[in-house]
Symmetry: C2
Subunit: 265 residues, 2 copies
């Protein structure tokens, strides 16, 4: 958990997400860590099996919502005490919606309306890449094991590596190039860190872990993305300390998975 | 094209999207039509092959953006004259970002911050369902023909029909139930139309066209979704006239495709 810097000026934010994996919760954690704002992560703070229960009850398939909030389709969700209907807790779900909300509150969403829109657009694009990375190991059904869709995964991963990775990396390289005067290759939008930067950074970090051979082969083609940008985000105060801490959960069997047969031969 | 109602109070919005299919452009069109606000759709207004050129130049793989706007990853994009950096045109891409922007401007984004967030969250969820529907016919590679991934598509579509459709439909039924006091089963959030309603409506409409047998089988289980909600959106002033007009593009070979072998046997 982050130090209590600024905690008194913000409500006690609560991230509700599965314990033990970075997953989609990590995009939210990085925003808090970059802003130096404390947050609760109850599923990971509960030592016994209670962590799963917290998230399972969030997505109870009978729920019609409560306290003026709708039901939640899937984690992550963000609970913000005092900001909901009638003074109760506000409960937001969907990663881009949570990031958009927190980006505004924590000054990670740009300096004007145009930047705000660019930051949301790039974040959605980075999250599309995140989803496609997930689908390489689950191309047929999220409810089935990888082993039951391995043949299809081999095909999907080949297309992902050969066509999709270059398309996304090339795009973000051009975004950095087009913003080079203000961003110096360090920021996607404007001249300061945004939640688009932290989101793309985590996706690249996951791809490096899941597809090390492919990334080694590709990186040199994108000098801004893997030179200035990637290193700069990792060195950002708050992020740097977080990445070196035990709070950062290791990649394992979540969105990013290291199946060598799906990587570049 | 919509009548020029309210056109004088808004900039001349321009939707940039592939011609000839509803696709992801339709989510944007429905917002304009519901608000009674005129918009340009240049790819569909160009009689010759120029429509494709307009969109192809938008996503030029060498572009680093222009006029203070970043490059565009993929259509749709929205151009808003006078709202960009230094008084130029603002160019926004990514469907949820465009909807979020227009929702605010056209009063289709709720009445307070909580509603604004719920509307964005539900829209993202409806668009996730849209993406999953697309992936039923392209589970392996968007760059390959359906015929080259037909075996995988049969598996993907089976999972989509048996597991994913009930999960999403059940969720939205509960959203409507939880908001029944204000929304009367007609609106996902609050007591008036939002861009979440028009977005979910178009997804349901596409699913009805692509999977008619499956939808016939499922509908009765979701009385709010396919009773009050679906019919109410279609009867909304602006939407009703649009759906009856020749402006509405027919489903064909876009996101939604009617391959009988992918439907319920």
């Amino acid at each position: 958990m982050s130090a209590n810097k600024k905690a008194r000026t913000h409500p006690p934010y609560e991230l509700l997400y599965w314990p033990g994996i970075p997953g989609r919760g990590e995009f939210i954690r990085l925003v808090f860590e970059a802003a130096g704002v404390s947050y609760k992560d109850p599923a990971n703070e509960t030592k016994d099996a209670g962590g799963m229960d917290i998230v399972a009850s969030l997505t109870n398939p009978e729920s019609v919502g409560e306290d003026g909030n709708p039901p939640v389709f899937a984690p992550p969700a963000l609970k913000v005490p005092g900001e909901g209907k009638n003074g109760g807790a506000l409960l937001i779900y969907q990663t881009p919606a949570i990031l958009s909300y927190l980006g505004e509150k924590l000054d990670l969403a740009g300096t004007d309306e145009a930047e705000k829109m660019f930051i949301l657009s790039h974040t959605l694009t980075a999250l599309d890449l995140n989803n496609e990375a997930h689908d390489t190991h689950h191309p047929i059904a999220v409810s089935k094991y990888y082993e039951d869709q391995r043949e299809e995964a081999l095909k999907k991963a080949t297309d992902f590596r050969e066509n999709r990775i270059p398309k996304f990396f090339g795009f973000f390289e051009r975004v950095l190039k087009g913003n080079e005067e203000g961003g110096k290759g360090k920021f996607l939008v404007g001249d300061k860190l945004s939640y688009a930067d932290t989101t793309l950074w985590h996706v690249l970090s996951g791809l490096e872990w899941a597809f090390p051979s492919e990334l080694d082969f590709r990186k040199q083609d994108y000098p801004l993305l893997f030179g200035s940008f990637y290193d700069n985000v990792a060195q950002t105060p708050g992020i740097k300390e977080y990445l070196a801490s035990e709070r950062r959960l290791r990649f394992s069997m979540g969105v990013y998975r290291n199946y060598p047969e799906l990587d570049r031969p």
